[in-house]
Structure formats: C-alpha cells, structure tokens
C-alpha cells in the first residue's frame, strides 16, 4: 500500500464533501457534507502519520483526536443554530433563507 493511495482517497472524499456543501439545500445535509470533509482531513493526517512512523505518528494521532473533538463541537452548535432557525422560519432550505441578501 503506497502513501499516495491514502492521500488520493482523502482528496476524493474532500471533493465529494465540496460537492455536497455546494449542491444540497437542507442545512442538515450540508452539515453532513462538512463532516465528510473533516473525515477526509483525518484520513490524510493518519496516512502521513503512518508514513512518518518513527517521528510523527503520535503527533498525527493527537491532531486527529483534536479534529474529531472540534468536529463534534461544530456539529452540536450547527444543529442548535438550525433548530433556532427552524423555529423562526419554519424552513431550513438554505436558498429560502435570503432575508439578508441584497
């Protein structure tokens, strides 16, 4: 198994996340696509950590743990915001939430 396969896998997953963030209308689905992107970053980190086994593996794993923690925090806050928006507007389709557009 070569390092480049893991890096290309992570890049592909990140691009899939980009497509999801741009195309989806439901805010929860956009959050799911963001989770995909953060997951891709984690795969990249652990891949590099395994490649630099002797020097950086522990640091890569610690970094990945921080990414997972911050992703959980961001998902929690995002859901709270979405619920508050739904309570006020009865819709979470992001193309209908345009009261701050020009």
């Amino acid at each position: 198994m070569r390092l480049i396969s893991i890096l290309l896998l992570s890049t592909a997953l990140f691009s899939i996340g980009i497509y999801g963030v741009l195309v989806r209308r439901n805010a929860v689905l956009i959050l799911m696509s963001i989770e995909l992107m953060l997951n891709a970053v984690n795969i990249n980190l652990i891949g590099f950590g395994t490649w630099l086994r002797d020097t950086a593996f522990v640091n890569a794993q610690a970094f990945a743990l921080f990414v997972i923690a911050v992703a959980a925090v961001e998902a929690g806050i995002g859901i709270a915001i979405i619920i508050a928006i739904y309570r006020n507007r009865a819709s979470i389709a992001v193309d209908e939430l345009d009261s701050m557009r020009w």
């Binding site: 390092l3 890096l7 890049t11 195309v23 799911m32 652990i46 891949g47 086994r53 794993q61």
Partner: protein, 171 residues
C-alpha cells in the same frame, strides 16, 4: 509482494471503495434519513481504515464520537426540523449540480496533481511493525506536548455546551 502486502492492498481497496461509495451516496441520496445512514457507513469504514493503519485508538474514538454522537445528533436535527420522511425530489439545488461537480473536480485535480508530484514515489507504508505502547504515548503527549490545545478543547466543549443550550431553548 509478500502475502501480507497483498492482503493489505486488497483490504485497503475494499475499505476505500466503501468510503467513496458511502460518500457519494451521502451527497446524492434523495432521502434525508438515508443520507445520514450512508454517512454512518462512511465513518465506520474510515474507522476500519484507521485500524488498518494501526491507529486503533483514533479508530475507536471515531466510532464513539463520530458514529455514536455526531450522527445521532444529526438524526435528532433531522427529526426536530420535520425533515420530510421518504424520498423527496427537491433536496438538491439542481442548477448548482454542474458547478458543484466542476468545483469538486477542479479541487481534486489540483490537489491530486500536487500530491502526485511529491508523493508518488513514496515507498509503501510499512505498517507491519506493531507500535509499542502507542496509546500510552498518545496519552502522554496529550498532557505534555499538547496540553494547551487539550485544555483549549475542553473550554471549547464547555462553551459549545452552554451556547447550544442558550440557543436552542424555548424563549
């Protein structure tokens, strides 16, 4: 290639296929709950990949936190915002599909090209040697080298807890 390397390659191929398939179905499913379940598939396959790369602690934390908490939170969000149950045709911004695909393709092309230039000749991952005391090393590094980010993440979690409570309560 030795038998172990062939086995590693085959397992990596299967896991990568499941990850990409799950990811594509997350962003193209026409059913909100099914998209969440495909996300579970993707995250669990990523945990399997971490186990393959001998990062077992991160794999277990991924299953616990991502699959066990984040996806459950997303499903609660789906429930509390009365997302339509069943297949709905208008989950995508259809005019944006082409541009979204183009953006993803351009990103993959640019980053993939740069990575290929630098790492295509990197030797095969030698993940055969078991790391001695790796979990102890992570724990030790979290409270010595990374103690400041560790405490900062604790404060972040506290702030997020209070903030989410303040935002989502009635009135």
């Amino acid at each position: 290639m030795s038998d172990q390397q062939v086995a590693q390659l085959v397992i990596f191929g299967v896991i990568a296929g499941v990850i990409i398939f799950g990811g594509v179905r997350v962003v193209t499913a026409q059913n909100v709950v099914r998209a969440a379940l495909y996300l579970v598939l993707t995250l669990a396959a990523t945990a399997a990949l971490f186990v393959l790369l001998l990062a077992e602690f991160v794999a277990v934390v991924q299953v616990l936190v991502y699959v066990g908490a984040v996806v459950v939170l997303l499903l609660f969000g789906i429930m509390l915002t009365r997302a339509p149950i069943g297949s709905t045709p208008d989950l995508d911004n259809k005019p944006y599909r082409m541009w979204g695909f183009l953006a993803g393709l351009v990103f993959f092309g640019v980053i993939g090209f740069v990575l290929w230039r630098h790492f295509a000749e990197a030797p095969a991952l030698v993940s055969s040697a078991p790391s001695a005391g790796s979990i102890e090393a992570i724990g030790r590094s979290l409270v010595t080298d990374w103690v400041v980010p560790f405490e900062a993440v604790s404060m972040l979690l506290l702030a997020a807890l209070i903030g989410a409570l303040a935002m989502a309560r009635k009135g």
